[in-house]
């Protein structure tokens, strides 16, 4: 058995999600991502079932595994009680471990997620806080958000928030003791190492391309769109 298959079989999501597939297509028929992207969860499970390391490696380097929204609709329908969504989780993890994610546009967005959400969790104890949603990076939020962003402290006072301040209330600062505990959890469970891996593979890729990781490379993960996803 090759390295990739071995890693997959060590993954609890993968083992829970994959029994055997008869290619009925129920997962693809119910899949919201399959309606919008050039994406077919049945084919992914079939590729894994065939067990060809080369084919699976190609999959791990492709955009394909990053289209899934992990909504788990597939779990509710599969007549063999597979969960393609969990198979995808397993594939994503191996792609992250082996650094294959930097080969695809959607995969490279792992760095954006790590840089924004991952670091935010470690710095503040929140995935996202309002000040992180910069209007220039999120034009989809529209002019109302832009106004709120410019008047952030006043706005959150008016809606009885406690933005980044000590004490109780929504959006309060997480105290130092809780943050210590959070960091310990990340260290013990492998979360810290996992994020560092994303960072180092992305840095390598940025250096290879001669761009700065936190500037050019980071922006590229937001702006890049080949238009070949549908």
């Amino acid at each position: 058995m090759g390295d990739i298959l071995k890693r997959l079989r060590e993954d609890i999501h993968f083992m829970e999600g994959f029994n055997s597939c008869m290619n009925c297509g129920v997962c693809t028929a119910i899949c919201p991502a399959a309606e919008f992207y050039n994406y077919d969860p049945r084919v992914i499970v079939e590729t894994v079932q065939r067990g060809d390391e080369g084919e699976i490696e190609e999959l791990l380097k492709s955009d394909t595994i990053w289209y899934c929204g992990e909504c788990m609709s597939c779990k509710t329908r599969c007549p063999r009680c597979n969960t393609p969504g969990l198979v995808i989780m397993g594939l994503r993890k191996v792609s992250q471990e082996l650094g294959y994610f930097v080969h695809s546009e959607k995969g490279r967005q792992q760095y954006a997620l790590k840089h924004v959400i991952g670091e935010s969790v470690l710095k503040r104890g929140y995935c996202v806080t309002p000040d992180l949603v910069k209007p220039e990076m999120h034009p989809e939020q529209g002019p109302v958000w832009e106004w709120i962003y410019e008047h952030m402290d006043d706005f959150y006072d008016r809606v009885h928030g406690n933005l980044r301040k000590p004490g109780a209330g929504a959006l309060r600062a997480v105290d130092a003791e809780s943050m210590d505990e959070l960091h310990r959890i990340f260290d013990v469970t492998g979360g810290t190492e996992f994020l560092n891996q994303i960072e180092s593979y992305s840095r390598e890729k940025a250096e290879e391309e001669g761009t700065d990781l936190e500037e050019g490379y980071f922006l590229r993960t937001y702006m890049e769109n080949s238009g070949n996803h549908q």
């Binding site: 009925c24 899949c31 399959a34 309606e35």
Partner: protein, 340 residues
């Protein structure tokens, strides 16, 4: 003279009764309904020869006129007991008592309750029917939507309640594939202008003439076969049924709007089959059907001495195999009685 008690008057029970009686054995045939024939009573035409199902039923009924056969219609066994000499006594629902030297269980199957696949909308959407409902429509020569219109696009859904862990049925019901082909052809004959689709995973054409019939459905009757299993259905404001499947041969998700959707319901052990198994201490297979002693040499035998099985109480079977199985059971029982 030996006596055999047969429980269940479907095709298997009827044929076994006739074969045993022809060998000079006294037969008591117990049937819960007021007529024999079982599930065959619900069928219009048979595959692959399109024979009228009621002709076969009639023939099986006529065989029961044999003087060696006593028919107990509208009766159910309320208790079965076995004494030390291997004789069975069966109490009937009217309080009478039958005695016999062997027991033949021929309690058959029931069709899958399509309401258990809620996402298919049977009993919820107006234009979703089962293959059994469709046979009834054929008999009345009226294929109409709930509004009384001619359905212009019809979808036949394979594997409803079969090969589906979600409803705890791992087994293949085997007959639905060819039933779908037969019903598609019958629909085409009645509705030459309509579009007819079959949504399938595998076409399991196991019997003689079946594969040829499937081919004919494609070549002569213009039935469209799409390889993809139904994921779910929804109803639109016109009460049409919108189905979601993947065309797995193209690798594309597909939505089709149907005027009528037919669910090919699979087969499960009947309640009477499971009840008799419990009463007699006979083992069930994981599929819920009665487990034969041996799949090759002992498929009419059970772990209980003197208790025999035949027909669809042990597995889904077509009529040809059911009638063969009944004759095979008769041979086993005759041999058992002669050795007694």
């Amino acid at each position: 003279m030996h006596t055999v008690i047969i429980i269940g008057g479907g095709p298997a029970g009827c044929e076994a009764a006739y074969q045993l009686a022809s060998d000079g054995i006294q037969v008591h045939l117990i049937e819960k309904n007021n007529e024999t024939g079982g599930n065959l009573n619900n069928w219009y035409q048979l595959f692959p020869d399109r024979k009228n199902a009621q002709d076969l039923n009639k023939r099986l009924q006529e065989q029961l006129n044999h003087p060696g056969i006593t028919l107990h219609l509208g009766m159910e066994p309320s208790r079965v007991e076995k004494d030390g000499q291997g004789r069975f006594s069966v109490s009937l629902s009217d309080g009478s008592l039958l005695e016999g030297d062997a027991l033949l269980v021929a309690t058959g199957f029931k069709t899958f309750d399509a309401k258990r696949k809620e996402e298919y909308g049977y009993g919820i959407y107006e234009n979703v029917v089962t293959s059994v409902d469709l046979e009834n429509m054929f008999r009345n020569h009226a294929i109409r939507t709930s509004k009384g219109d001619v359905p212009r696009r019809i979808g036949i859904i394979h594997c409803v309640g079969s090969r589906d862990e979600k409803v705890c049925n791992f087994h293949c019901s085997k007959l639905c594939c060819i039933t779908g082909v037969k019903q598609a052809i019958e629909l085409r004959e009645m509705l030459p202008e309509s579009e007819i689709f079959c949504f399938y995973m595998d076409m399991r054409m196991f019997g003689p003439g079946y594969e040829e019939m499937y081919r004919e459905a494609q070549e002569k009757y213009n039935i469209k076969f799409i390889r993809g299993r139904l994921s779910e259905a929804a109803e639109n404001r016109e009460h049409q049924v919108q189905v979601k499947v993947e065309d797995t041969l193209l690798g594309r998700p597909l939505r089709v709007t149907l005027d009528l959707m037919v669910l090919l319901v699979g087969m499960e052990a009947s309640n009477e089959t499971q009840g008799m198994a419990r009463e007699l201490g006979v083992k069930l297979a994981p599929s819920g059907f009665i487990l034969p002693l041996d799949p090759h040499y002992g498929n009419n035998l059970t772990g209980e001495k003197g208790v025999f099985i035949t027909g669809c109480c042990s597995a889904p079977m077509n009529l040809t195999d059911t009638l063969n199985d009944a004759r095979s059971a008769a041979v086993c029982i005759t041999r058992y009685l002669n050795m007694k």
